[in-house]
């Protein structure tokens, strides 16, 4: 009988705890504009950056409710599920991509056309960004920042040891530099063997070797002829050639562990987005001193950009609409753009932004952005998530196995057909 009393009291305790934790009466409409924001900026530098936005929003009279969920795909999954479940957030982070195209088609997003008109986005934003956020003539997302995906980072100490006098300006010079690094006993190319990193490597080779024309025909237009062309095959072969310069422990490695190799001078070069700058800075290194950054090979190489945007799920509640409008306006303020991007390692979205407060690498990027002929979007700007994923599957299989280039071509062609 002792046992039964114990069980009964346990159950009562449990039900009591549960009942006490249940939400109280439905909270009435807020007087202050309360914005619940779902995003995936959870680590040190990113967290500091989004805090700036939250701070500015509060100063503008709003209340910021932070819903951070690490992992872009998980964050987006939660956003989609919340929309389906009828409890959408006020704003949600996405990439400049086709990730939110379906949500637009289901008519689940509020457009931000008046802000776009006021801020003259058609003229001031880079074309790939406009392509991603403008659907059917309406603007559905507010851009937060711009990242460049294919920077070439190198360790000055490693270059010195290998006797490399100047930064490579062409693909051939890059291979020559890698050869010298190998001869000096260093890891020529620091690489993390994960699907998305392999796609970055490929994008760099396609953009720098194939040029803007071929890049857009393959990635944006999915032109089957361009994919099956001998030019593209050469790109694939050059890409595979890079594999001979990575160390055998690269599969599965996280990108920041690869950066650590460059920081320590054990590896020469890493090809990674501008978020790598944060690792260098955290280790106390500075651009031009211990490490160098190249936006591409040669003076006219395509500049691959992507960005983060905020979308606003559809709502009719006036206080939510107010919060959305306030947030959209706060996020685009030059002061907020400056504060956010400095801490995040990215660059502001407007081509007319003030560059004096940014470091040398960021300034290079901002200068290139002003030349309208150079920026192109990364693969996910033009491809649906499904196509992008299928492409990544082929690339990573090609990188890791002995697949011949012709077969890779065929697989890419069919992957981009669906």
């Amino acid at each position: 009988m002792y046992g039964i009393r114990k069980i009964a009291s346990c159950m009562l305790l449990g039900v009591g705890l549960w009942a006490s934790a249940m939400p109280g009466a439905h909270v009435g409409p807020q007087a202050v504009a309360q914005a619940e924001v779902i995003h995936w900026w959870t680590s040190g530098g990113e967290s500091a950056a989004i805090k700036q936005v939250a701070h500015a929003y509060r100063q503008a009279g709003g209340a910021w409710v932070d819903s951070a969920i690490a992992g872009g795909d998980q964050s987006r999954a939660v956003t989609v599920n919340r929309i389906i479940g009828g409890d959408p957030p006020t704003a949600a982070q996405f990439n400049t991509s086709k990730q939110f195209l379906d949500i637009i088609e289901e008519d689940m997003l509020n457009p931000v056309d008046d802000l776009a008109r006021r801020e003259d986005w058609d003229r001031v934003l880079p074309q790939p960004i406009v392509d991603a956020i403008k659907v059917g003539g309406h603007y559905y997302a507010v851009p937060m920042n711009i990242h460049m995906q294919t920077w070439i980072w190198y360790s000055k100490a490693a270059f010195e040891r290998a006797g490399i006098a100047r930064e490579p300006q062409t693909m051939d010079e890059l291979f020559a530099a890698l050869d010298r690094l190998k001869a000096a006993g260093l890891i020529p190319l620091a690489h993390g063997g994960q699907g998305w990193q392999e796609t970055i490597l490929f994008s760099m080779v396609l953009a720098n070797m194939g040029g803007r024309e071929l890049y857009l025909r393959v990635i944006r237009d999915r032109d089957q002829q361009a994919i099956r062309s001998p030019q593209f095959r050469q790109v694939l072969q050059a890409y595979k050639r890079l594999k001979t310069y990575v160390d055998p422990a690269s599969p599965g490695r996280n990108w920041n562990d690869a950066t650590a190799l460059v920081i320590a001078g054990r590896a020469g070069i890493q090809i990674m987005g501008d978020w790598a700058k944060g690792e260098f800075t955290a280790a106390g290194q500075q651009p031009g001193r211990e490490f160098g950054c190249l936006p591409g090979l040669g003076a006219n190489s395509p500049y691959l950009i992507q960005g983060d945007v905020f979308v606003f799920p559809k709502t009719d509640r006036p206080e939510a609409l107010r919060a959305q409008k306030l947030m959209a306006e706060v996020v685009e303020r030059p002061a907020v753009q400056l504060a956010f991007n400095q801490l995040k390692g990215s660059i502001p979205v407007r081509t007319d932004a003030d560059e004096s407060a940014f470091d040398a690498c960021a300034r290079k990027g901002m200068a290139i952005l002003r030349d309208r002929a150079r920026p192109v979007g990364v693969a996910e700007v033009y491809l649906t998530p499904d196509q992008n994923g299928a492409l990544q599957d082929v690339l990573t299989a090609y990188w890791n196995t002995a697949m011949p280039a012709e077969r890779a071509q065929g697989s890419i062609a069919s992957a981009l057909r669906y």
Binding site: S47, R82, G86
Partner: protein
């Protein structure tokens, strides 16, 4: 003597068995040395990752970047532990994983209790009363245990939204009940199968109805298996991430969401020492439960739970 007859009489003889076999202290011979050697090797294999985790959690990031995962820390520091609990950034807030602790408790306690209760009732009804079609339902439940949880997220979201409770504590508890029911029912059903039918018949003859027999005869006997079920269900719910993320709603996010935010940043810096400290901290509750109820766990199943 037939084996199945022996098996049926085992439940209450469990406690006697070890005593019956030990008696005098064993002598040292090559066989015993071999046994200890094997167990020692196995223990080393099991402890190796824990060693790496603890050692990593006590080093500063500079040392970790140098490599050498087995090396003892040169500059021993407890800062990662403090950060993990109350300082690390998990979004705009930088308050560590502590913020999710109470939510995890609020989710885990009712989920565990209610699922165990339902599993016990189900097992009892399936073993003794056996209404028609109950076994088919049980079969469906068992088949459902093989389905990856994510597949059922969309339909559940829709259903809960229709019921108006999506994104709340009752929603996540309900979801945990749904996913925990198959294994819990399996445990209790097998356990009650080991209870002699005569006991049940005697209780019926004494005039007991369904609920009276359950509450006054079966439940008191089930304490050991309840502890087993509690351990399995609590560990599952406590370490669950995706269900809490989707169904709990913003105010009830469990600790594992914070843990994931600490570990799985996409393009931010990764603090491995904090990650390891946070993981160990998160695991402390289930571990404490194992420590406290370890002997119950083994004894509980000995009472016949695992009969097929």
């Amino acid at each position: 003597m037939n084996r199945s007859g022996l098996a049926r009489r085992l439940p209450l003889a469990a406690a006697a068995a070890p005593a019956a076999r030990s008696g005098a202290r064993r002598r040292w011979n090559p066989a015993r040395i071999g046994i200890y050697a094997f167990l020692l090797c196995a223990a080393l294999f099991f402890l190796l990752p824990l060693y790496v985790m603890i050692v990593t959690s006590l080093k500063p990031m500079d040392e970790i970047r140098q490599g050498g995962i087995f090396a003892l820390p040169h500059a021993l520091t407890l800062e990662p532990w403090r950060q993990a609990w109350s300082g690390v950034c998990t979004g705009a807030a930088c308050a560590g994983i502590r913020t999710g602790f109470y939510n995890s408790v609020a989710i885990a306690v009712p989920s565990t209790l209610l699922t165990i209760l339902l599993g016990a009732v189900n097992g009892y009804a399936l073993s003794f009363w056996r209404p028609r079609g109950a076994n088919v339902l049980f079969g469906i439940l068992l088949a459902g245990a093989f389905v990856p949880v994510q597949v059922m997220i969309y339909p559940l979201v829709r259903v809960l939204a229709l019921a108006g409770i999506f994104g709340s504590l009752p929603a996540i508890v309900l979801v945990h009940i749904v996913f925990g029911m198959p294994v819990m029912t399996l445990l209790f059903r097998n356990y009650y199968r080991g209870v002699p039918q005569e006991l049940f018949h005697a209780a019926r003859i004494d005039g007991g109805g369904f609920w009276r027999i359950f509450v006054f005869v079966m439940l008191p006997m089930s304490l050991p298996i309840m502890v087993v079920a509690a351990i399995m269900q609590l560990t599952g719910v406590w370490n669950d991430y995706i269900l809490g993320l989707v169904f709990a709603g913003r105010d009830n996010l469990p600790m594992t969401v914070q843990l994931n935010n600490v570990i799985n940043t996409t393009t931010g810096t990764r603090l491995y020492n904090v990650n390891m400290a946070a993981t160990i901290l998160t695991a402390l509750l289930p571990l404490a439960l194992y420590f406290v109820s370890g002997r119950w766990f083994v004894r509980g199943i000995a009472a016949g739970a695992v009969k097929g």
